[in-house]
């Protein structure tokens, strides 16, 4: 099981702040495509992915038990 946190616009589009994916192993690029097709998200291409609270690259592999967060462009400060 992979836990995926959503924030800001993405959270509102999905209607919840996290989703659970029943997947053993997937790349960052693939998880973005999967979320995109499943929820029709507006900002997924512009978003970064964090795995276990660190920014990940497109080809990094996510495994069951990892915590994923989709990070749309930030606007703190």
């Amino acid at each position: 099981m992979i836990e995926v946190f959503l924030f800001a616009q993405l959270q509102e589009e999905v209607g919840k702040d996290k989703v659970l994916l029943d997947i053993k192993e997937i790349t960052v690029k693939e998880i973005k495509h999967q979320l995109q097709s499943q929820f029709d998200l507006s900002q997924i291409e512009a978003s970064m992915v964090a795995v276990n609270e660190a920014y990940a690259l497109e080809d990094d592999i996510i495994r069951s038990g990892d915590t994923v967060a989709i990070i749309p462009p930030v606007s703190g400060g």
């Binding site: 946190f5 924030f7 800001a8 616009q9 959270q11 509102e12 900002q43 512009a46 978003s47 970064m48 964090a50 609270e53 660190a54 920014y55 690259l57 967060a69 990070i71 749309p72 462009p73 930030v74 606007s75 703190g76 400060g77």
Partner: protein
């Protein structure tokens, strides 16, 4: 928890407490940056702001910015607190305090910190205007960025 140097909080931020965190007998200069909620941006009138964070990662990224600063400017001390939740006009969203033996690094490191916050710290704001609302993103026109590397120029802006 008064001594956490890098914090996401939900209550009002005390500037004095941030200053205390960076005080040092060998500091000759302390700079603070206080980010407040501005009423007018362009032609839009903000009613209030809503900040959201991916809290554990945001605190890690703030700490990383502190580490980058210590590497770039020796003998600096850095403390950063960012508030989340609903903020009214003039309320404080972020405070950055930097101490240094000399004034130049205190200014430079402080400005570096706010620029980095806007690049790598997972915090988002939603503007509530009189006629609507929107999550704000991409203020720096960073469409994507791969890593939390210190050198902005190394980042991927495609």
């Amino acid at each position: 928890m008064r001594n956490k140097m890098f914090e996401i909080v939900e209550e009002p931020i005390s500037v004095e407490s941030l200053i205390e965190k960076v005080e040092d007998r060998n500091a000759g200069a302390i700079t603070t940056f206080i980010g407040t909620v501005r009423e007018i941006t362009g032609e839009k009138k903000t009613v209030y702001l809503e900040y959201q964070a991916y809290k554990p990662m945001a605190e890690k990224m703030l700490a990383q910015i502190g580490k980058e600063i210590n590497q770039k400017w020796s003998d600096t001390k850095v403390a950063i607190t960012h508030r989340i939740g609903s903020l009214d006009i003039s309320e404080i969203a972020v405070v950055i305090a930097v101490s240094s033996p000399h004034r130049k690094p205190a200014y430079q490191a402080n400005e570096y910190a706010i620029e980095r916050i806007k690049q790598i710290v997972p915090i988002w704001k939603k503007e509530q205007w009189e006629e609507g609302e929107a999550w704000i993103g991409d203020q720096l026109e960073n469409v994507r960025y791969r890593t939390g590397k210190p050198d902005v120029k190394d980042e991927d802006h495609d």
